[in-house]
């Protein structure tokens, strides 16, 4: 009941560099976000491959040969892991971004996500077949 103003709201700063350690869900989010580093790096690798392809057979085969190194295998394994994680997170949230309403009801999210996984599997198999892996 004082006449003087005694408010002094306290602001808690969010730690700029370490906030994502606070909750597991933030860690999951950051894991999803860093997939871009691997996807980006891998895409640059593809670009180099295309460059080598355009330069001629010898250059291209040198490129393929260069891929056969332990570092490259490790990189590939990491990139594969992160890109699969990216795919899963991407498909899991697709129903949020693109809900489908048929008549009154919304298609259950699981159906949309499931359809994506199915499409992904079919496409991947097709690519592998085409590439003559099997």
């Amino acid at each position: 009941m004082g006449e003087k103003m005694s408010r002094k709201p306290y602001v808690r700063e969010v730690p700029k560099y370490s906030w994502f350690f606070r909750r597991p869900r933030y860690m999951r989010y950051m894991a999803r976000e860093v997939t871009c580093i691997f996807i980006g790096a891998y895409t640059l690798l593809l670009l180099v491959g295309v460059m080598r392809l355009s330069q001629g057979q010898a250059e291209y085969e040198a490129f393929l040969a260069a891929l056969r190194s332990p570092v490259s295998v490790v990189f590939h394994l990491l990139a594969l892991g992160f890109s699969v994680y990216n795919t899963a997170t991407w498909f899991n949230v697709t129903p949020k971004a693109l809900p489908v309403q048929i008549g009154e009801e919304f298609l259950p999210g699981g159906v949309i996500t499931g359809a994506h996984y199915l499409g992904w599997a079919v496409l991947s198999l097709a690519v592998l077949l085409m590439a003559g892996v099997f």
Binding site: P9, Y10, R12, R25, V93, K96, A97, Q101, E105
Partner: protein, 247 residues
């Protein structure tokens, strides 16, 4: 009915005497089926009448009792003691300034909520004497979920982007704009876009999705924000690449 003693660690802050908040431990006897809010009420009644917090409905509909319980944004009236083990930590909602104890300053949310024009801007004006606008159950369902927001701001406390970028309009405000945009009776999307299709609007959202995970009413604000992004993107391409297409 059986009572048990629970330990609560509550963040206290008193602006007239404290320079910063500190935890205070209470042991309080509660019934096992109680919620955290009941425990706080018992503390206030029997141990410490100076403890301040907001509440009213005790049924998860008024939206006043949002707090951090063991680090998660929760409604105190819907957090059951039986779901916790050991000491229960109770703090004011994250990302909002603390006025006192568990009471936060929510001016920022109230301002942002108003800015998005969260009211019906009719597509076709019609006098009341001509009766209701028709709206099919399917049209209702299209936006119904977004009307369920109780303005509890748990989503703001969960969204790291709001914590990092305080200017961000945030999940609940944008979801409410989306709610009206999706309403078959409404024609105000262009006006609302002026607010929500801005950098501080939907574009500060990086789709963390935490907002939807903590929302007690299953509003799913993350979905609203992504849909707003898609629509704004389509708008942008139409406007800049196909100027001949009239809206």
């Amino acid at each position: 009915m059986s009572e048990r003693v629970y330990q609560l660690e509550v963040l206290r802050y008193h602006p007239e005497t404290d320079s910063e908040p500190h935890f205070q431990r209470y042991s309080v006897s509660c019934e096992e089926e109680w919620v955290v809010l009941d425990a706080l009420n018992r503390i206030k009644e029997t141990i410490d009448p100076t403890l301040s917090y907001r509440w009213s409905c005790h049924m998860a509909v008024c939206g006043s009792c949002g707090m951090m319980i063991n680090g998660e944004p929760m409604l105190a009236c819907k957090s059951f003691l039986r779901d916790y083990q050991g000491v229960i930590r109770v703090e004011p909602l994250a990302h909002f300034p603390i006025e006192r104890d568990l009471v936060t300053v929510i001016d920022d949310f109230m301002d942002k909520f108003k800015r998005v024009k969260p009211y019906l801007i009719p597509k076709h004006e019609k006098p009341v004497s001509e009766g209701e606008y028709l709206q099919s159950p399917a049209q209702l369902k299209k936006f119904k979920q977004y009307t369920m927001c109780i303005n509890c701001m748990l989503c703001y406390a969960a969204c790291p982007e709001y914590g990092l970028i305080p200017k961000f309009l945030g999940p609940a405000a944008i979801s409410m704009a989306h709610r009206y945009n999706q309403d078959s009776r409404d024609g105000g999307r262009d006006e609302r876009q002026e607010e929500i299709a801005t950098t501080e609007g939907v574009w500060e959202c990086s789709f963390v999705g935490a907002c939807s995970e903590v929302c007690p009413e299953h509003v799913d604000p993350a979905s609203a924000l992504q849909q707003v992004k898609i629509k704004s993107t389509v708008d942008w391409y139409k406007e800049h690449l196909m100027p001949w297409v009239k809206k």
